[in-house]
Each structure stands twice: as C-alpha cells, then as structure tokens.
C-alpha cells in the first residue's frame, strides 16, 4: 500500500506539469469534458430526480409530530441534498461510471502499446493523457453537482404534489429556510476533491496495468473500489474540517 501511495504521488508529479502544446491540450480537454461530464448528464438527471423525490416522500411520511412546521420537509430535503446527497452520492456513482471508464481506457492503451508509442515520440504520456481528464473532472463535476441539487429539489416538489403531501408554497418555503451559501461552497469543495480523486486514482490503476484484458478488468474494479473508499474517507475529513 505504501509503495502504491509513493508511486501515485510520483505519477502525479509527472501529471501536474505544463502541457507541451496548449492547442493539443485544449482539444483533449474538450474531448474529456464530453466523455467525463456531458455523457454523465443522463445518469445524474435520473438519480437526482428520483432520490430527491424519495427523500421528500420519506421525510413527509415520517413527520407525524404536529409540533413540527409543515415546511420542515422542504428544509430537510434541501439540507440532505446540498450537504450529502449531491456531492457524495453522485460522486460515488460517477466513481463507478467515469472511474471504470478511465481505468479501462488507459489500461487498454497500455496493453496495446499506445502509451509506449507516446513515450517513444517524446511525449510525457502521463501529462498528455491524465491532465486533461483531471481538469475536465475538476471543472465539470461541480456543474453536475449543482445540476443534481436543483433536480433533486424539483424531484422532491413533484413527488409531494403528486402524493398530495404538501403544497408547492410550503415546500419552497422549507427549501429557502435557513439556506446557507456556505453549505453550497462546502459541497462544491468536496466535489472538486472527489473529482480529482476519481480521475487520478482510476488513471493510476489503468496506467500501471500489466498483462492482458483480464488485468485491465481487474484494474478497473480496483480503481472503482479504491476511489470509492478514498471518497468516503475524504468526505469525513473535509466535513470535520469545514463543518465542525
């Protein structure tokens, strides 16, 4: 584990360097924004809308204390979505989707000698392949998470209205109650950290794969597991540092 950690930091030392040709980097960045960000929109829409709806329904169905104001449902949905659901759960889902994709893509490039071809040309393959992915994740994951927050709250609204458990005015009053911009900033900081972890850890396992297609599959699984565990630990550390 310590050896892997050392190799990871050494790798990042090569990744986080100035790109050789900005025009090539820019083209790669646009491609990665599409591959990592835009292609993830459907799953984010689906997950966010339905989980937001379920959070609202569960909160409403468990609120049988008459002393609690009716807008509490909106407030709890807002807090759960901003603080935890959108940044963490969506990142865990993206660790599965994006992480396995990155790991298998780079792993396949390794076993088919495409990375060797880059190295022989004199290209810093780590910088060329991984830096655009890191930038794409760090730029686009926060956008996805903001999108997810909005959709989850809309999902909650729709589910309450359909189920006749609350009115739109009461729910929106709850969403606006004790709304703190700091929580959104906290969520976005977490998301940037999670995006960095997903891309760098998955790239690490893909880049250093040895063997054949079975090993690429194993590396992909490992990348998802390690990214997810690292996200959970980082979540705890950032929460401890920023909220307590």
């Amino acid at each position: 584990m310590i050896r892997n950690l050392g190799a990871y930091f050494l790798m990042m030392g090569w990744v986080l360097r100035k790109p050789r040709k900005f025009s090539v980097f820019w083209a790669m960045l646009m491609r990665e924004i599409h591959a990592i960000g835009i292609s993830s929109i459907p799953i984010v829409v689906l997950m966010s809308t339905f989980i937001g709806a379920v959070i609202s329904l569960q909160t409403a169905s468990n609120m049988d204390n008459p002393l609690l104001p009716s807008y509490t449902v909106g407030y709890i949905t807002q807090s759960s979505v901003i603080l935890e659901f959108s940044p963490t759960i969506i990142s865990l889902i993206l660790a599965g989707k994006v992480g396995s994709n990155i790991s298998s893509e780079i792993g396949t490039m390794r076993i088919t000698e495409q990375i060797d071809a880059l190295e022989i040309m004199g290209v810093n393959s780590l910088n060329h392949l991984i830096l655009p992915k890191v930038f794409a994740a760090v730029i686009y994951f926060p956008i996805l998470v903001i999108f997810s927050m909005i959709l989850a709250m809309v999902g909650g609204l729709i589910s309450l209205i359909i189920s006749d458990l609350s009115t739109a005015e009461t729910y929106v009053l709850g969403l606006r109650s004790w709304f703190d911009v700091y929580n959104v900033i906290y969520a976005l900081i977490k998301t940037v950290a999670f995006g960095f972890i997903i891309v760098s850890v998955s790239s690490f396992y893909g880049y250093y794969v040895k063997g054949g297609s079975l090993d690429v599959g194993r590396a992909s699984t490992k990348a998802v597991v390690i990214s997810s565990i690292t996200i959970l630990i980082t979540n705890f550390i950032i929460t401890k540092l920023m909220l307590l």
């Binding site: 025009s23 090539v24 491609r31 060797d116 071809a117 022989i120 040309m121 004199g122």
Partner: protein, 255 residues
C-alpha cells in the same frame, strides 16, 4: 549509425541481455532475429529508452542515450520512428489524426503544411483517401501501413519495426517489407527490424543479428546466413524441411 556497447539488462533476478554489442548501419535494414523470449524486443525497447539498461552504452551517432537527461532524450526521440507489433495506433483518432499527431505535438507547421505532410505520408504507404477511417475500421495490413506513415511523418533518422509482418498474410507481408525497404533506401534511415519472418530475412536483411539466450550469438548478412553452419541458426532459421530445400537451392545459386 546506432551502436550498442556491452549492454546488460535484468528484470528482477532474471538477466535478459548479456553484454550485447552491435552496430546498426544507416541506409540499411538491420534485422534482429531469434526465437521468442530471447531478448530481441527487450533490446529494441532498451535502445529507444522504454527500458533502462543496467549497464552499457547506446550511441546514436556518438550520442550516448543512456547518459542523456529527459530534455535531451525528448529531442533525440523526435529523430526516432517506431512501428509496433500491433501498430499501436491511437483508437480515438482517425488515420489522419494519428499521422498528424507528432507534427501537431512537435512542429510549428501551419495547418496546410501539416495536411500536405500527412497526405504525402499516406500516399507513400498507398493509403491516400483513407484519412477519415478509424483504426478499428482498418485491416491489419492497413493499420501497419498507417503505423509506418506515422513513424515517418517526422522524417526520422532511425526507424524501429517490431515484428512488422506478424499476423499478416504473405502478400501483405511482402508489401510491408517493400515499404520498409523503399523508405530506408530512399531516406538513408537506420532501420532496425525485429522479425521471425524468414522471408523477410532473405528479402530485406542487409545486416542480421541473431540473439540467442540474451547474447549476440551470430551476425552477418543475408548471404552469410545462407552459408553458415552455426547449429543454433540452423535449428531456428532452417527448422522446416521447406526452408532446408530453399537454402539448398540458394546455395546452389550462390556457388
């Protein structure tokens, strides 16, 4: 000229190359032959810096690659083209983008100049008009030809080909051999070809290095390999009855 001097290479506890010394001449096709697992690819990959050698020198026109810093290696690598066994084309790029990639990365050519160079290289390997295809849409032979076009796009002084004929039918293998031969003679490139293909040995082998048990076991040219009685060469090159008959016929022609 590339000169390899007393090169050793070990992986873990297993030594793969033992004191290899050889010269590879410019304007000639220098073959490295030998059985699988004898160290041919390790030697070629060590020569281009994909493996670091334990000791010895690799001299490119007198410049020792093993002593260069990263910047110097990057500069030298722009003089090297390599054709990989599986072509190693970038999946996400079209044929044109693959050939254009080194030009975009390392030159200050205008778009027009780049396009002209790409078209020239593709024409050189008989792939004009195939610019928009992706590697997955190309046959094995086409992929190899795109690999050659990419390798020569930067006008290399040194060309490495790792088993260029593997997986190809005999007719396509001859096309690839002819391309390598034409390009080498036309541009005076130092070409190094790792091969198992005995047809290539006889057809294009200007200079042949036989690696056995990680050592420089035998060297000569295509005439020498017909005449030699070295037992390891005989058991490798002339293993089949068919090859023995061909050798007998070639020997008759020579005498």
């Amino acid at each position: 000229m590339i000169s390899v001097q007393h090169v050793d290479k070990t992986f873990g506890k297993q030594q793969v190359l033992f004191d290899i010394t050889a010269d590879f001449q410019p304007g000639k096709i220098n073959l490295i032959i030998g059985q699988s697992g004898q160290g041919k690819t390790v030697l070629a990959k060590s020569m281009v810096g994909l493996h670091e050698v334990d000791q010895g020198q690799i001299l490119y026109n007198g410049r020792d690659f093993t002593q260069m810093d990263k910047r110097q290696k990057t500069a030298l690598r722009q003089e090297i083209g390599m054709l990989f066994q599986g072509a190693a084309l970038f999946d996400s790029m079209t044929v044109e983008e693959n050939v254009k990639f080194p030009l975009r990365m390392f030159t200050k050519m205008t778009k027009k100049e780049m396009q002209d160079r790409v078209d020239f290289c593709l024409e050189r390997v008989n792939l004009s008009g195939r610019n928009a295809l992706f590697p997955s849409e190309c046959s094995g032979g086409m992929q190899k030809r795109v690999g050659i076009a990419r390798a020569i796009s930067m006008n290399p002084k040194y060309l490495f080909c790792d088993e260029p004929n593997s997986g190809l039918d005999p007719k396509t293998a001859i096309v690839i051999d002819s391309l390598i031969k034409d390009i080498t003679y036309e541009y005076g490139i130092t070409t190094i070809v790792i091969t198992h293909d005995m047809n290539s040995v006889i057809e294009i082998g200007d200079s042949i290095l036989f690696i056995h048990q990680g050592k420089n076991w035998w060297s000569g040219d295509k005439r020498d390999i017909i005449e030699t009685n070295n037992p390891e060469i005989e058991s490798f090159v002339y293993a089949s009855e068919f090859m023995k008959k061909i050798r007998a016929s070639l020997r008759e022609n020579i005498s």
